[in-house]
Symmetry: C2
Subunit: 439 residues, 2 copies
C-alpha cells in the first residue's frame, strides 16, 4: 500500500494536465482521516491508492481549483474514473449517488457491498459510489474489501473510498446504511450497550446533519437499532425525521417464511406482513393482518394456539438456531433484508401489499406513542419516501403486545435522554430483550 | 430439526389428498443420505424439514406413484412448492434447472448461493433448484445455509436440498459448481494435494457421469482446479469433455484491474484479456492480445519492463495481499468471478471481446498439448457452449511462458495417472506453484 504525502493531484491517461471542465476529468485523490484541521485550511493531504502515482504512466500534479472540496479517500482503480456522460455505454445512466456504509469491514457489509455494486438494489442504470466507514482497528480489512471490489469489475461501481471519519464518509451521501455497532461485552447490561452505541450514533447523526445530502435516507442496522435510529435522528435536526429507518425487514422475512412453512405454501404467497415495534424480543409479528394467498392468515392457519404461542418464538429464535448450526450470525440473510428494505423504498409497493420498517411515530394513525422509532406497515411509490398504511385492524391480543413493545421503546428512550438532548437519562429496562443470535 | 421415519409423502394446503397430476402437486419430501441401498428398493425414507409434517396443517400421506424417483432431501419451506405453470406470476418462466454446488458450507459458496438465488446469474425468468453438497462435518452448517436461503424469500429459488452424497446432489444437475476441496495440510507436498483432491474429483466425476444431466456444465473451483477438472472429466466419459471448466476468471478479472490501474483508466476499458494455462503461478496473463479502449495494451502502456516483470506478479500476489489485510481469502470476489464465468456461457459474448476459462485442449488451434485442461480465450453465443478464439497472436516471450505452464500441467497429469485411468502415476513436480492466498 503506497501512502505518500503530496498535494491533491490527478492525472490523465495520456499524461496531459486536465482542466476541471475536461470531460475526461479524473477524481481527486486525497486522504483526510482526521477532521481536526478544517479542510479548506489544508495544503498537504495524503494519497492512498493501491497503485502509487509514480506507477501510473505519466502522472501530472493537479492543483485543486479554489472552492473544490477534497475530502475523499479513494481506493485503487476507483481513483480514476471518466465522466459518465461522455461515454456511449454510460451516457444514459442516472447521476452517480453516494452510498455510505458503516461497519464496512464486517460480514454483513461483506455481503451487502457486492449486492449494492451489482445493480440489484438501485437498478442497472444507477452508478454508485461506495463510501466505507470502518475503525482504526479494521482499516486494513477495509482495504481488503476495497481490493475485492476492484477485482469484481462491477461497471456500476465507479468510486470507492474508505475512512474512519464519519464526516468524510457521509459527505453528500444519498443513503447511509449504518451497520457498525459495538457488540455487547461480557457482563454488559442492555443499558450499557444502549449508552456505548448511542454515543456512536449520536456522533454519526451529527455528521449526517452536517455533511450528508439534505434528503439522505438512513437505515440503522446496528443494535439496538430502533433506539440507535432515534438517537441519530435527534442529532440530525436538519434531516427530515421521516428519513430514518431501523431495520426490521429480516424479522418480516422470517415471519413470512414461518407462516409459509406452517401453511405448506411457498413463501411468495404470504403478504401484508407487519412487524410492529422494537427489533427485540418484544417485537410483534402480526398474523391478524397478514395474508396467505390473499386470505387472512387466521382463515388459512386455524391453529390459533400455534399462531399465538409458537409463531413469534419461531421468528425470534431463528438467529440463535443459526448460530448453533452454522457457527456464525446471519450475515447473508441480513444483507438480503437490507437490500429488500432499500428496494421497498425505491420501487413501488405492489398493489394491496405493504412492508415493515422501523420509522418515526409522530403523526402515526394507530395511536402509538409519538417520538419513538417503531416498526409499522408502510407503502412507497418508489421515490425513496413512504406512507403508513391505514387499513389495518387490531384486536385486544395484538394491541396488548403492541403496548408492551411501545413501553420498552419508551423505556429505552428515557435511558438515552442524555444522547437525544432531552435531559438526564433514567434507565429502568426490566429484562434482556436482545434477539437470540444478535449482539 | 424434525427427522421422522415415514413413507414418501406429500400434503396440500387444504389437507386434501392430491393426485400426481394435480397442478397444486407438492414435492416429495424424502431423505436419502446413503447410496448403499438402491433407491427403488426403499420403502422407508426419511423426511427432513425445518417444519415437521405434524406441524403442517392437515397433512395427508401420499403414495409415490410407480416410477417416480424420490432421491431428494429437501429443506424446510423448499419442500413445498407449486406447479409454476399454474401460477400467473410464474407461468411464463423457463423450466426449473438443478444447480449443484459442492463445498456449499464454505465462504465462497456463502456468497455464490445468494447470487444464484437472486436471479443475477441465470436471469429473472429462470427458477432454480440449489442442491448443496457438504461433508458429514459440515452438515449442520449446510442446514444453516439452507435456513438463510429460506429467510431470503427469493422467488426464483424453488427448491433447496442438502446432502453429503454426490450421487444425490448431482442427480439431473444442469450445472455442477465444484468448489469443495481439501486444503493442504501442514507439510503436504503439491503431489499429496493432487492425490487427495484428485480422489474426490474422481468420485464426483463418476457420480456426474451416472446421474447428472447428459449435457451438464461443470466448473471446477477447488484447487488444483485444472487437474481436478481433468480427473473429473476422465471419470465421466458420457459427458462431453468440452463441458468441463477450471475457473481462471478471478485471475482474468484481477489482470484487467491491474492493467486499468497502470493505464489510469476504469476497468471497463480493458478487454480481450486471456489467462493462458494453469491456475497456478505459472499462469500467463496475456498483455500481448489484451486491449485498452480497443487499442493493444502495449500501445497504451509503453512500460514493457512493468508488463513483463511486474504485471503478472501483481495479478498473482493479489490473494496473498488480501489474506494479509483482510485475514480471509477472497471469497466474495471468487464468487463474483464464478458468476462471471457462468454468465459468459449463458449470455452472448460482446462483439470482438472474449473471456478466459480452463477447458479441454483437444483440437485447440494454438498447438498447445492435447488432453489437458488449459485456460484459453473463448467466445459463446450464450447457449452454455463456447468456441476457442482463433485470432490471437503469439510472440516468443508469450509462447515461452505458455510452454512452461503447459509443461506443468503435463507433469500434474502424469502425477494423477492412477486417477484418470492412464496407468501408474509418476510425480516430478519441480516446485510449489500454488497461488499465494489459496489453499
Amino acid at each position: 500500500m503506497a501512502v505518500l504525502e503530496i498535494s491533491a493531484s490527478t492525472y490523465s491517461r495520456s499524461g496531459a494536465c486536465l482542466s476541471p471542465n475536461d470531460p475526461l476529468s479524473l477524481r481527486l485523490v486525497v486522504k483526510n482521516r482526521r477532521r481536526s484541521i478544517p479542510c479548506s485550511a489544508r495544503r498537504i493531504t495524503k494519497i492512498l491508492c493501491s497503485v502509487a502515482p509514480n506507477q501510473v504512466q505519466a502522472p501530472e500534479l493537479y492543483t485543486t481549483p479554489a472552492g473544490v472540496a477534497s475530502k475523499k479517500e479513494c481506493f485503487g482503480v476507483f481513483c480514476t474514473t471518466y465522466d459518465l456522460k461522455s461515454d456511449d455505454k454510460t451516457k444514459s445512466w442516472k447521476s452517480l449517488i453516494n452510498i455510505a456504509v458503516s461497519g464496512a469491514a464486517g460480514m454483513i457489509a461483506n455481503h451487502l457491498l457486492f449486492k449494492l455494486a451489482s445493480g440489484e438494489v438501485f437498478g442497472p442504470d444507477q452508478p454508485i459510489t461506495l463510501k466505507l466507514l470502518g475503525s482504526e482497528r479494521s482499516f486494513q480489512a477495509l482495504e481488503g474489501v476495497a481490493m475485492e471490489l476492484e477485482d469484481s469489475l462491477y461497471p456500476l461501481l465507479r468510486e470507492v473510498s474508505i475512512s474512519v471519519d464519519p464526516y468524510e464518509v457521509f459527505q453528500d451521501a444519498a443513503w447511509a446504511l449504518l451497520i457498525g455497532a459495538k457488540p455487547r461485552g461480557p457482563g454488559m447490561e442492555r443499558a450499557g450497550l444502549l449508552d456505548i452505541n448511542g454515543q456512536i450514533f449520536a456522533q454519526q447523526g451529527k455528521a449526517l446533519n452536517e455533511v450528508a445530502s439534505p434528503n439522505v435516507k438512513v437505515i440503522v442496522v446496528g443494535n439496538p437499532c430502533n433506539t440507535n435510529a432515534l438517537i441519530c435522528l435527534k442529532n440530525a435536526p436538519n434531516i427530515p425525521a421521516k428519513n430514518f429507518h431501523a431495520l426490521t425487514r429480516l424479522d418480516e422475512n422470517r415471519a413470512k417464511c414461518q407462516l409459509a412453512l406452517k401453511a405448506g405454501v411457498f413463501y411468495d404467497k404470504v403478504s401484508n406482513m407487519t412487524i410492529w415495534g422494537n427489533h427485540s424480543t418484544t417485537q410483534v409479528p402480526d398474523f391478524l393482518n397478514a395474508k396467505i394467498n390473499g386470505m387472512p392468515v387466521t382463515e388459512v392457519i386455524t391453529d390459533i394456539k400455534w399462531l399465538k404461542e409458537e409463531f413469534t418464538e419461531r421468528v425470534q429464535k431463528r438467529g440463535g438456531i443459526l448460530i448453533q448450526k452454522w457457527g456464525r450470525s446471519s450475515a447473508a440473510s441480513t444483507a438480503v433484508s437490507i437490500v429488500d428494505a432499500i428496494r421497498s423504498l425505491v420501487t413501488p409497493t405492489p398493489s394491496g401489499d405493504w412492508f415493515s420498517t422501523g420509522v418515526y411515530t409522530t403523526e402515526n394513525p394507530y395511536g402509538i406513542a409519538e417520538d419513538i422509532i417503531f416498526s409499522m406497515p408502510c407503502r412507497s411509490n418508489g421515490d425513496g419516501d413512504y406512507e403508513l398504511v391505514k387499513d389495518v385492524i387490531f384486536d385486544d391480543y395484538l394491541w396488548e403486545r403492541i403496548k408492551k413493545t411501545e413501553a420498552e421503546l419508551l423505556a429505552e428512550k428515557r435511558c438515552v435522554a442524555h444522547l437525544t438532548g432531552e435531559g438526564n437519562a433514567y434507565c429502568d429496562l426490566p429484562e434482556d430483550t436482545m434477539l437470540p443470535g444478535e449482539q
